[in-house]
Symmetry: C2
Subunit: 243 residues, 2 copies
DNA sequence: TATGGTTGTCTATATCAATAGACATTTAAA
DNA sequence: TTTAAATGTCTATTGATATAGACAACCATA
């Protein structure tokens, strides 16, 4: 964890330090002791006052990542970072595999609407064609990992909402509707600061980073079946592309 | 640009607003006028004081993204976002294609060293095997886009440093050393806040986001020839994965 | 039980971030 | 030339951020 923090940048020192410690925990530093270094050690490392480090640790405690115990130290409670393989066979649940004990997909909202220009372009439909929109949040071991808005051609996947709500999985919902297999055709990845909607949906703290994917799935004949914009909590995931 | 800014989060309002406006510019809002809305309009939109908006715009002006003209408004100077296709044939220069007039690859540092555990694992070498390390910064139209640290098996690519310095391109350097073609085998993508080294290498402002890729290239026989850790300025790039 | 190392709490002070208001300066258009 | 709209500059005030120091409370261990 070399490198000093930046002053007078509009980002408070305690937040920069919290981000760095969160990252270090996630990368497996401190695994030997299961504890964060003492506050005074961190303060010296970062070149700040001990109280500033305490603010950072308080924020991490608020997130449930660490827990301070008077007289002993600050214990690490959680450190996972899920890996998402991206390939022709990209799927959320099987991709996570054994990295989490339990995964859930929650339906936050839905609707049937006319395809916007963007959605129509990705799904290769005429603008204005009816599409079904699902707003979902996916969780691993109860912790939100991503929030997604997905669009499906309404004519072909009329029962998508019910199927998803029952199965909590896009793959299984497709199967119920007669599509046994599909292919990830395109994935675009960008990053941005979390917006207000992300903070609540993904249980993030402001200033956090979200990884944004725009993805299109096709059936085996190459016909688009789904377009999704998904927002991931960047400190909980990484993507792996295997060619 | 809906959604309010967050208070008391360790991220100053002016920085949140600067990030949002930068994003909006990059997304093509304001394209009709070529100008950012008036300060008072933005202040109302974000629910803050005009002076706070001015701080945000001053930061963007410092980055060269906007330029304020008294009496007229705040003009947009720059809005590009380069797209990087990631596939078996991922290459920096040809991937950028016609998105920039001129690309350069600058060698910042280099060395020959024993492979660390991580490097050895990716290059499938015994730990401690000699590898060549190159520190490079790649620019498009004079603007830094990414900084990379790359490792190559020293036994096979002894002249890598000279070849890169001459050609300013990994692909062309490989060609000079007798490797006419190679394949992108694996790419891992994560995101983080910019560190001190990023700020200077990529000419970023603190609080900015970097997209980090860890990539491994092989020759046509599947033998690893390069492992790279590359840090991209997130507001200047997006990745596209075509399967 | 005594000690060293750790987190918890309190006071005080200086600087940064944000708001508020007033007015100057510049530009474009009426 | 006048006016409206926009950015530029200044003063003042409040709250958040960061530093500094002192000491209390707690834990593990010698």
């Amino acid at each position: 964890m070399a490198g000093q923090v930046q002053r007078q940048t509009g980002v408070a020192l305690w937040r920069q330090i919290a981000d760095r410690i969160r990252q270090a925990i996630s990368a497996g530093a401190y695994d030997e002791t299961g504890m964060v270094p003492p506050e005074m050690t961190l303060a010296t490392q970062f070149g700040v006052n001990r109280h500033t480090v305490r603010s950072a640790l308080a924020a991490l405690a608020q997130e449930g990542i660490v827990r301070a115990v008077q007289g002993r130290g600050t214990l690490i409670e959680r450190k996972e970072r899920l890996n998402f393989p991206i390939s022709k066979r990209t799927r959320f649940n099987s991709g996570i595999g054994e990295q989490a004990r339990e995964t859930r997909g929650l339906l936050l909202g839905h609707g049937e609407e006319a395809a916007s220009d963007e959605v129509a372009r990705w799904l290769k439909l005429a603008p204005g064609t009816k599409v079904i929109r699902l707003e979902t949040v996916r969780k691993a071991d109860g912790r939100p990992v991503s929030s997604a808005t997905s669009w499906f051609p309404a004519a072909r996947f009329a029962g998508m909402r019910d199927a998803y709500e029952t199965t909590e999985s896009i793959t299984r919902a497709f199967a119920e509707l007669g599509l046994s297999d599909y292919i990830r055709a395109t994935t675009e990845i960008t990053a941005a600061h979390a917006e207000a909607a992300d903070l609540s949906a993904l249980e993030l703290t402001p200033g956090a980073i979200v990884l944004i994917t725009k993805a299109m799935n096709t059936d085996l004949d190459g016909v688009p079946v789904q377009y999704s914009v998904t927002r991931f909590a960047a400190d909980r995931v990484q993507f792996t592309i295997e060619n």
